[in-house]
């Protein structure tokens, strides 16, 4: 039980009064910001990042773990009470959760979400603790060529999420990679895309990109289409679940964990597919299928557990390979890097205190979340009533503050507005944000690995093809070809995945969170000509 004793050491690191205080503060702030309409977990992290700047590494990461869980739970609260998910992973929660809220069971929906998140988060963090050292051991041996191939897989996977347009995903990835290229090339010392502007030589700060795309883009986009009449917020009572609620919830929690963790752990996808799979599974297994669509508690319990388990699973590739699979994980990666620590296979060997402290603080954050959010649910619901001019003015205020504080440079404020305008355009034309942010953060690393791999092979392209990377490239090609294959095998018996895909399309259509509808998403019969991927 090597992991076990390391984990205990981790608790030793994390469980100091100061760190506990910051864990509480993190959960509190994370939930408070995350619950605000229009703010998802990634934006919450990006906005709160400057607050951790003055802290030492361990404390900062512990506070971050709190913000992370708080932000995710805040998003679920918004979904349930307003029927408007802040991010794609909580689209499913909104389907049944809001129906429950409308029939006067908002408190129960929030409770099953909170307890389910706690159960799933705890089990998944335990799995993370057991699995990560093993993955890290394996990953130490992988070469730059392999790492590059996995990063390529991550790029392709985030652009190919079910239910969205691939060409727009690739457009977003290309824009992100371009932003990542700006600055001095570390290997050759050449300036790239700086146009002689000295402020660009060190590259664009990731905080500026993330805050610009998420916060400023969101504020501008919403301002252009602001709803002028007040939104209906459903009042929340004291969250207390009946015996029946419990007996209907615990199995979905466990099944959700089982579905979510593996999907999060593979460097592909994110939380959208597993939450839909969980929804479909619960619908099939439920003794009350007729309640689905009218507020079935299983439909909240399962997907919420899945969401949290998948988030914890996502930390496996993040910590062991340095590869983020969600926007939230991407911001997290940047936060860790800003302390001069590079997540990757060697992290477990070089920074054991830090890693195990972080994993222990995930347990703590999760527990604090439960303790804090069950009693405070009615208070969070009140935050949803904040007048909209103040809400969006506040977002711009804190976005400017965060961007300026990271480098004390006015130039960053102008950049912030330009990137915000880019975020506006992307929202207007259904270009997803996730590939861009992954491209900005991961692009420079992928280039470094590629060039190292070619340096080792003396410039021969064959050096990129090693046993493991070949397997990964096959997967990449398979992902790229799926739409083509689906076209040649027209509508076979509806599998669970196909059903999930259909549900995703429907829900997207309904909520408009989707990234795009494109020709390829339609039925294949009218399709001819080149594949618009």
């Amino acid at each position: 039980m090597d992991s076990f004793s390391s984990l205990m050491d981790g608790f030793g690191t994390a469980l100091t009064p100061t760190n506990l205080l910051f864990a509480f503060l993190g959960v509190l702030l994370g939930t408070a910001i995350g619950v605000l309409p229009g703010i998802g977990p990634a934006m919450t992290l990006a906005l709160l990042l400057p607050l951790t700047r003055g802290l030492d590494v361990t404390t900062a990461l512990i506070m971050f773990a709190g913000i992370y869980y708080g932000g995710m739970y805040g998003g679920s609260t918004t979904s349930i009470l307003l029927n408007t998910p802040g991010e794609s992973a909580s689209v499913v929660t909104a389907i049944e959760g809001n129906k429950m809220a409308r029939s006067g069971r908002a408190a129960q929906a929030l409770a099953t979400a909170a307890i389910g998140s706690f159960v799933a988060g705890t089990i998944a963090t335990l799995l993370l603790a057991l699995l990560s050292p093993i993955v890290a051991d394996l990953a130490v041996q992988i070469s730059p060529a392999d790492t590059f191939s996995v990063m390529l897989l991550a790029f392709i996977a985030v652009t190919s999420v079910l239910g969205s347009s691939r060409v727009r995903g690739l457009a977003s990835l290309g824009l992100g990679l371009t932003i990542g290229l700006i600055g001095i090339d570390a290997t050759s010392g050449q300036q790239r895309l700086t146009f002689g502007i000295p402020e660009l030589a060190s590259g664009i700060d990731v905080v500026v990109v993330a805050v610009g795309l998420f916060a400023v883009g969101e504020a501008l986009w919403t301002a252009a289409h602001l709803r002028r009449h007040p939104v209906q917020v459903i009042p929340v009572g004291n969250p207390r679940m009946s015996r029946q609620d419990w007996s209907r919830s615990w199995k979905p929690w466990l099944r959700g964990t089982a579905i979510g963790f593996p999907f999060g752990a593979i460097p592909a996808g994110g939380a959208e597919i597993p939450t839909f799979l969980s929804y479909v599974t619960e619908k099939r297994l439920s003794k009350h299928p007729e309640e689905f669509g009218n507020g079935a508690i299983e439909g909240v319990a399962g997907p919420e557990a899945t969401n949290n388990a998948s988030a914890a699973g996502g930390l496996v590739p993040l910590l062991t390979l340095g590869i983020p699979t969600t926007a939230t994980a991407a911001v997290m990666l940047f936060a860790i890097q800003s302390y001069g620590i590079q997540p990757g296979p060697r992290l477990f060997a070089t920074e054991p205190d830090l890693v195990w402290g972080l994993i222990a603080s995930l347990f703590i954050g999760n527990t604090v979340l439960l303790l804090l959010n069950l009693p405070l649910a009615p208070l969070w619901a009140k935050l949803l009533r904040i007048p909209r001019p103040y809400l969006y003015a506040g977002i711009l205020f804190f976005a400017s503050l965060g961007a300026y504080a990271s480098n004390a440079n006015t130039f960053d404020l102008f950049l912030l507005l330009i990137i915000g305008a880019l975020g506006f355009m992307m929202r207007r034309y259904g270009i997803p944000l996730l590939p861009a942010i992954i491209g900005v953060i991961l692009g420079p690393f992928a280039e470094e690995e590629l060039r190292q791999a070619l340096q080792i092979s003396n410039g021969h392209v064959s050096g990129l093809f090693e046993p493991m990377s070949i397997v990964v490239y096959v997967i990449v090609v398979a992902i790229l070809l799926i739409p083509l294959i689906r076209r040649f095998l027209p509508s076979k018996s509806p599998t669970v995945l196909a059903e999930a895909a259909h549900e995703i399309d429907e829900a997207h259509h309904h909520h408009g969170t989707t990234d795009a509808v494109s020709v390829e998403a339609r039925t294949s019969s009218e399709e001819r000509g080149p594949d618009p991927r």
């Binding site: 309409p37 347009s165 060409v167 252009a224 602001l226 003015a393 711009l396 102008f414 795009a516």
Partner: protein, 170 residues
């Protein structure tokens, strides 16, 4: 205010072609600037600094073509929804422009006036742009936020923010 309402697909399609054009232009810019990178003296390894920009720029150009094809065949990027978003009314450019002014005035004033005041101007201006007409209440909130966040960052977090003309007072 000039954007056509949803449903007028011809107008929407034309404007989305602009996105394809933008992507293509960025792609070309990346490619050209990669070609113009001079040979490096301290280069290490067989792959120079221009290889990856060429691929990324190429990707953008190819994507712009496919996007244009997709748009011409009737594919549409769906505008993002949200809690406070009401699609269908067209874009309210006046609010966006006022917000940009508030934002830029903070960027220009932060060093001469200091964050407590420039941030307050940003908040007040943004709230005004978004339709709040409680001038005094907004100003009080704005100043409290500006001064409060300055104290939080400078004293609480040890991150320096410009104090500007309030030097000696705060």
């Amino acid at each position: 205010m000039t954007v056509a309402p949803r449903g007028s697909t011809a107008e929407q399609g034309r404007s989305e072609l602009g996105v394809a054009l933008f992507l293509g232009a960025v792609g070309l810019l990346v490619v050209i600037s990669a070609i113009l990178i001079p040979a490096s003296r301290i280069a290490r390894g067989p792959v120079g600094p221009s290889a990856v920009p060429l691929v990324v720029g190429g990707l953008l150009v190819v994507v712009s073509v496919f996007l244009a094809i997709d748009v011409l065949r009737g594919g549409r990027g769906e505008p993002e929804g949200g809690e406070d978003v009401e699609l269908g009314g067209g874009t309210d450019w006046r609010t966006v422009a006022l917000l940009a002014v508030a934002f830029l005035s903070n960027a220009l004033l932060i060093e001469p006036l200091g964050w407590p005041l420039s941030g307050a101007i940003l908040f007040w201006g943004a709230a005004f742009a978004l339709g709040s007409r409680h001038y005094v209440r907004d100003a009080v909130i704005a100043v409290v936020l500006g001064v409060g966040s300055w104290y939080l960052f400078v004293l609480g977090l040890n991150i320096s923010l410009p104090v500007g003309i309030l030097e000696g007072i705060l």
